[in-house]
């Protein structure tokens, strides 16, 4: 196993994580906006994504396999499972962050004659950015870990080394997957935390 191979697989892993978190963000944003004004739907939706989170990841990958169109062995199934996991922290932090904006600030924004979308995008979202980014950071770091298991259903990435190493009782191969995965998680955590601080007012 050469360093270039480890690097290549690490990039594949990162791509898997990037796509999953990106798709989760794309789903979470409109979903969170929808939930802001609907308290009952908000409780049910957050409960549902919470339940998804409690399903062990290997089991979720297994459960998705036989489902037509979205299931089957390969990257697509892996990404769907990772998106489902990433949704909870992102949606929850978006909703909590926006609802947590100071009531006086929101009221004066409305009273100044800002429209609903101006209040949302110029006041609520910027003030909720630290909380929203914290959710994205949690989602990213945990997806980097969970994505190693995606190799079990043909998702590729660093998990490939881990599973190959376990099968052949070769510790070096296991570590070739585990160490880069841990490093990626640490780096992602640091970078996103830095961004969080930069974008806090």
């Amino acid at each position: 196993m050469r360093a270039s191979e480890i690097f290549e697989v690490s990039m594949e892993h990162l791509l898997l994580v990037g796509i999953s978190v990106g798709v989760a963000l794309a789903i979470a944003t409109p979903l969170a906006i929808l939930l802001l004004t609907r308290a009952r739907l908000r409780r049910w939706t957050l409960a549902a994504v919470n339940v998804i989170q409690t399903i062990p990841s290997l089991a979720l990958f297994g459960l998705l396999l036989p489902i037509p169109f979205i299931g089957g062995v390969g990257k697509q199934t892996a990404i769907i499972a990772l998106v489902l996991y990433a949704l909870l922290p992102i949606v929850r932090n978006m909703v909590v962050g926006i609802l947590g904006v100071d009531a006086g600030v929101r009221e004066s924004a409305v009273a100044m004659g800002m429209t609903g979308s101006q209040v949302l995008w110029q006041v609520e979202v910027p003030l909720a950015i630290p909380t929203i980014l914290a959710g994205v950071r949690i989602a990213t770091v945990s997806t980097i870990g969970t994505a190693t298991i995606a190799a079990a259903i043909g998702g590729g990435g660093l998990g490939t080394f881990v599973f190959r190493g376990i099968a052949s009782a070769n510790m070096t191969t296991v570590l070739a997957g585990a160490i880069p995965a841990a490093l990626l998680a640490i780096i992602a955590d640091e970078v996103l935390e830095w961004l969080e601080r930069r974008l806090s007012y």
Binding site: G104, V105, E107, S108, A109, M112, G113, V123, P126, L127
Partner: protein, 249 residues
């Protein structure tokens, strides 16, 4: 010419409870009407109906002769300045951005907005060169309220609504702000509706004082006649002056 604002038999209920009852009120141009009352008397509710943050349960309110329900709320609010107790400044905007908010929403040219912001900061006693680039967290309580007032005045509104703007300030700062505010409304020729629970403030700033009790207007008098008021709530407020107790806290 119709009065600037007119309340006709306005009532407001929240889950069956009366917050305001049978309010009739007329506000003319260039006056400062103070709404004086205890916590829960309905004074803030009354104020928030004028810029449609709240809608009356019964009755009608007109603004410049036109029913509030016929006004586009966005247009209405941009012609009314609003100041609340903690200023409600946007913490992620600089002083300059905060004050220039409504002009920007109204698509003023950048240079015009900038000139207006500078003029207003000077008018409320803050040097633009020192304060324009600061964030609200870098300001004292009194400075925040000054910025809040400058922001409310920015797009030259016909009316100012102020909800206990000086209540959280220390007595010395508060007194300075009250004096300054009185000069400011006079020099800008603004109509203002000012909510307070402080009778000293009411007497100092009001051209008329309306006393609210349990959601109803008990009486409306000019400040120089307030001492002769015979209604119970007015007398209760007057008593706080005589005993030397501080009515403002």
């Amino acid at each position: 010419m119709p009065p600037l604002i007119e309340f006709r038999q306005v009532a407001y209920q929240v889950s069956g409870r009366d917050i305001l009852r049978g309010v009739n009120l007329t506000i003319e141009d260039h006056e400062t009407l103070v709404l004086l009352g205890r916590s829960g008397s309905g004074k803030t509710t009354l104020l928030k109906m004028i810029n449609r943050l709240l809608e009356p349960s019964q009755g009608t309110i007109t603004f410049q002769g036109k029913a509030l329900s016929d006004w586009d709320p966005i247009r209405l609010r941009r012609s009314i300045g609003y100041v609340i107790q903690d200023g409600g400044l946007f913490p992620h905007h600089t002083v300059e951005q905060n004050v220039g908010l409504v002009p920007r929403l109204e698509n003023w040219a950048a240079e015009k907005t900038q000139a207006r912001v500078k003029e207003l900061l000077e008018a409320v006693g803050l040097a633009a060169s020192t304060y324009a680039s600061r964030y609200p967290r870098q300001l004292s309580g009194g400075e925040k309220q000054r910025v809040g007032i400058a922001r409310a005045l920015a797009a030259d509104p016909v009316l100012l609504l102020l909800d206990e703007p000086f209540s959280a300030l220390d007595p010395v700062t508060r007194f300075g702000m009250q004096k300054h505010f009185a000069e400011l409304t006079k020099s800008f020729g603004k109509t203002a509706i000012f909510v307070t629970h402080d009778i000293r403030e009411a007497l100092m700033l009001g051209t008329r004082i309306a006393v609210l009790k349990d959601g109803q207007i008990e009486l409306i008098v000019p400040p120089n006649e307030f001492s002769k008021a015979e209604t119970p709530e007015a007398k209760a407020f007057l008593a706080t002056l005589e005993s030397g107790a501080h009515a403002g806290v």
